[in-house]
Amino acid sequence: MHQHTLSELSGLLAGGEVSSVELTRHFLDRVASLDPSLNAFITVTADQALAAAVEADRRRSAGEAGPLTGVPIAHKDIFCTAGVKTSCGSRMLDSFVSPYDATVVERLDAAGVVCLGKTNMDEFAMGSSNETSWYGPVRNPWDLERVPGGSSGGSAAAVSARLAPAATGTDTGGSIRQPAALVGITGLKPTYGRVSRYGMIAFASSLDQAGTLTRSAEDAALLLTAMAGHDPRDSTCVDVPVPDYAAGLSGDLTGLRVGLVREFLDDGLDGDNRKAIEAAASVLQDLGAELVEVSLPNLGLSVPTYYVVAPAECSSNLSRFDGVRFGHRCEDPRDLLDLYERSRSEGFGAEVKRRILTGTYVLSAGYYDAYYLKAQKVRQLIAADFREAFGRADVLLGPTTPTPAFRLGEKTDNPVTMYLNDIYTIGANLAGLPGMSVPCGFVNDLPVGLHLIADHFDEGRLLNTAHAFQQATGWHRRAPEGAFA
């Protein structure tokens, strides 16, 4: 049962071949027996899930079911869920029970999905390996000694190991696409503003965007249709109509212009990974796409730009954690300053502190122009490069990550080495563009991802490109062997 994709399960539910209660029990059993070796979940909401499944089955028998009614999913623990602990992977929020639902949660609930629980993540979504979580690292189902990527590492591992058919995630610099690549699943980061950020705990507000971790582009299309759309509670959420993305998957790529990004395929990419990406480009060409070469000359500056802009916004966003209204509070504060300093120092881990400190530095008097203002100008250049590239191509293509999954502990000593993992993904965040990672092969028996980027609000074309690729190849159907099969 767990080998079925979300779309297939939707069909089985519609055909009466399985009930939501049966499905929910099956996945909850898998979580209970297999998650101890992965640590993909922070909270499992078994009772609520079964109650939601009963309600979904009732809706179905009353003829009120939609395509997502009764399918189980998991939410990244960055999304506020009313009455359920919402930790954001941090000791700071270890005892925080959200009083309200995020818009993403509310919309998926309304569509009838069953939430199995909340998934592990890098603390406050700051990390590329899921090793900064207060709840311990998540392991990669393909090799338990390796990282699943981050920050949506729990969602990625859960979907890859078939503990959930799909999960939500967030992507600020690659946090959906990079883990999707490292565990061999499909990750979608929509256009900035496509999905509401209301109730999604903020890291860097001009970059954060909610998206999906699924087993296929078709599944991503189903979920995005339910999640996307205007929300007056998020002033950056754009009022642009939401198409039925699943209905738009024709699989036809005739006339599609696919841009091979020169800077994505240069010497920084190792040989086997490059072969997988080049093979994927040939598949798209065989399907009727036209390959063109494009260049993003300022792309090399995207990581340093990001590591000014994102920490600056994080230092501001995380100033709300002061030990007064919610979150961790230190014991016996001497005075108000001591309350702030010790509560924050005890509540945040090392990586979060580094980013707050970096952000505070680049925003401080005397440095603002040299760092923050300069970075926002370079960001404009990077966005202009993309605009120009989209004059020549409809979809851009490259690798999602420089290498397959690395070992636990391999990059924890050197933050800059860790940051360079997101070298291919960060550009799309800086420019607000939608991006996807789809499985496209294996290097040393580990999955690698094909990275596709489209123009603003062109998720339909992006999903269709990924869908056509998946119809023609079987990489997305490969599952980790052994316990998770």
């Binding site: 009083p99 900035y192 503003g193 030990g323 007064v324 108000l336 400190l357 100008k377 404009q380 603003h456």
Partner: protein
């Protein structure tokens, strides 16, 4: 750029973070690495490029200035570390 221990301490104070003595050398080293890494932006020729204010170059929407929130104080205060009679408790500020 290499940061000094004193600079890191000053930033930590601005950020209301207390860094234990034992962790200072690592923070000084890591932050110096990060700032050195982002220093390469210096060489980018940005000319008269306008800094980006919004990824979609959009303006913030306006709405009528009317009350849209209802009172959830009790719900919200359930997450507070210390409250009394509907007020958040902090250490004494005024002697």
């Amino acid at each position: 750029m290499k940061l000094t221990r004193q600079e890191v301490q000053n930033i930590a104070h601005l950020a209301r973070l207390e860094l234990p003595e034992a962790d200072m050398p690592a923070f000084v080293e890591n932050l110096s690495d990060i700032i050195t890494f982002v220093d390469q932006l210096e060489n980018a020729s940005t000319g008269d490029t306008q800094p980006m204010a919004h990824p979609l170059n959009m303006n913030q929407p306006l709405r009528p200035d009317v009350v849209t929130e209802s009172d959830h104080r009790e719900d919200y205060q359930r997450n507070a570390p210390a409250v009394e009679r509907g007020l958040y408790l902090v250490p004494r500020v005024i002697e």
